[in-house]
Amino acid sequence: MLVGVDFEPGTQGGPFPHWLNKRANPLPRSCPGDGWKVFVPHSSASARIVKVALCILPDTVAAHVLEVCDLSIQPHRAGICRRCWPSGPLDPLTVTEFLQQIVNGLALGAIYALIALGYTMVYGVLRFINFAHSDLFMLGAYAGALIAPRLGTLLPLGGVANALVTLVLAMAICALLGVLIEILAYRPLRDRPRLVVLITAIGISMLIEQVAQNGRLGFGPEVRRFPALIPDVTWHLGGVTLGSTSVIVFGVTAVLLALLTWTVKCTRVGMAMRAVAFNEKAAALMGVNVNRIISFTFAVGSALAAAGGILFALNFGKIDPLMGVQPGLKAFVAAVLGGIGNLPGACLGGIVLGVVESVVGGNPRLTSYRDAVAFAVLILILLLKPEGLLGHRTKEKV
C-alpha cells in the first residue's frame, strides 16, 4: 500500500522514490511520503503483476518486492498507470491489518475448501462438474436454519451440542439429496457425452434455485437471519481479532478433512473410490459395485457442502436462496486451482483463494475487485498451469 505514490502514465523519466531509483539505497522504514510519481506504460504486463503485488502487500513488504524485482534498474516497468487505476492514494494496510485479513482469509478459505472437495471428488469419479453442488451448499445452510430453532425446544442440550447435532443432521439431509440428484438426473445419462451431463447439472442447479426462491414451494426469495448457533466470543491476539465463529470454522473443517483423509486412505470404500476414480471398468472387474461407490461419493461431497453452508451462514449471519452461487463458483475456481480431481489440491486451492480474496478485499479501495481477483486467478491458472497446483498432467498410456 504505497501511500501517496502517484501513478502517472508515461514511459520514462520523472521523479521516482529514491529507493526505486538507486538500488543501493536503504529501504524506507516507514511509508513513503506524499508526492512520489511512478511512470509506467499502459500495456506493460509486468506492471500489472507488480500492481497487484503493491496493492495487497504492506508497504514495507512492497518495497522489498520492488527491490527483488530489480525495478530500480528499469523503473518504467513498475508501478501503475493512473488511467487504469482508481484515482487517489491507496489506503495503508498495516501489518496487523494484513494479519487480520490472513486470519479472515483462512476462515473463508476453509469453507471454500469444503465445497471444492465435493466438486473435485465428483469430477474424480465421473469426470464432470456438478454445478448443482453449490445449491446443496445453500440447502445445507437452510437445513441448519430450519433445524436449529426446533432442536432447541426438542432437546434441552447445551449450545455447542445443539450446534453439533444441527450440523450432523443438515449434512445427513444434504447427503441424501445429493445421492437422489445423482440417481435421478445423472445416472440415466451415464453413457451419454459429458456435455449432456454438464448441461443437466446446470439445469438442476437452476431448478433448485428457482424452487427455493418460490415462496410457496420453497423458502422465498428474502434474505433471512441465520440463528447464532454458538455464543459469539472474540479474542484479541496482538492486534488481530479472532471470533468464536472463525475458531469453529477452523475446528469443524479440520475434523472433517481428517475424517475424509482417513476414509479415502485407510478404508475399503475409500480404496474403492480411488480405484473407481482411476478406472471405473477395472474397478468393476474387481467386484466393486461402481454405482454404489458413486452414490457414496455424492453423499460425502454433499455432506461437506452442507457443512460449508452452515459454517458460511454462521460466519456471515444471513442466508438466501442464491447464497450458493458465488461461493460455489469460487470453490470451483479453488478446485481447478489445486488441480481438479485432487483432494489435497482442493484444500490448498480453497485456502489460497480465500486468503488472496480477503487480503485484496481488505483494502477499502479494492473491495469491489475481490471477486474479479478470484476469477483472474482461474484465468491465470488455466493459462499457466492448467493441471493446477497439485494436479498431474494426464498422460495417455498406450
Partner: protein
Amino acid sequence: MKPPLLDIRDLQVCYGAIEALHGISLSVNEGEIVTLIGGNGAGKSTTLRTVSGLIRARAGGVRFAGEDIGQCPPHEIVRRGLCHVPEGRMVFANLTVQENLRMGAYLQRDASVVAREMEYVLGIFPRLRERSQQAAGTLSGGEQQMLAIGRALMSKPRFLMLDEPSLGIAPLLVKTIFEQIVAINRDRGITLLLVEQNANLALEVSHRGYVLESGRVTLTDAAAALRSNAEVRKAYLGG
C-alpha cells in the same frame, strides 16, 4: 459328462451399428486351459468383455457354472468366481502394489483369507513383494502384468480370463508369466481362458483352442492338433 464351466451360445455383440460378434459359441470345461486365437479385430477381446459383463450382448447367452450370467453387472460376475484380467492390464496406477492386490480381494471380507491369498500371490511373483509399497504406475509392463494376474487371483476365482498377457512385455518375463499360468491351473485347479497374440506360446500351454475370424469361430480343436494344422500354422504361427 459334466456340463462345461463356461458355456457361450450364439453370442452376438454390437458396437453401435457395427456387429463385432456374429454368433459365437464356445465352451470351457472345468480345469482346462483354452486359447482363443485370431487376428486383430477378430472379436477375441470382445468375447471376454461380454463374458465379464463390461459389454452387453445383443443376443445369445452366457452360462457360468450352470447359471445364466448374461444380464449380470460385472461385480456380480466376479462374485460368482469369474475373473477377467483385461487387455492393457488396467492396474490402478494411483494405488500401491499392495493396495492393488487388496482391491483384487475387494469382495473378500475375511482379513485372514486376504492375508493368505496375498502371501500366495507374493510367493509366485516375488517381484511384487519387493515393490509392494510402490505406486503401481511405476512398475514395468511385465511387473504390471504380474500385478494384474496377482490381483485377479486375490479374488480366489474358479475361472480366469487373461487378455493378451504377453503384450509388450520383455521375453524373459513372458516366460515367467506363462510358467505361473500353467502352475495356477495345475496347483489351484483354476480354469483358464486365454486370448493371446503369441499363438505358439499359448497353444503350447493350452488343452484346446478356438480360431476366431471376423466375429465367427472358424475352427476348434485340441491345442496340439491346432499347432500342426497347416492353415493355422500359415496364418497364426508364422509358417
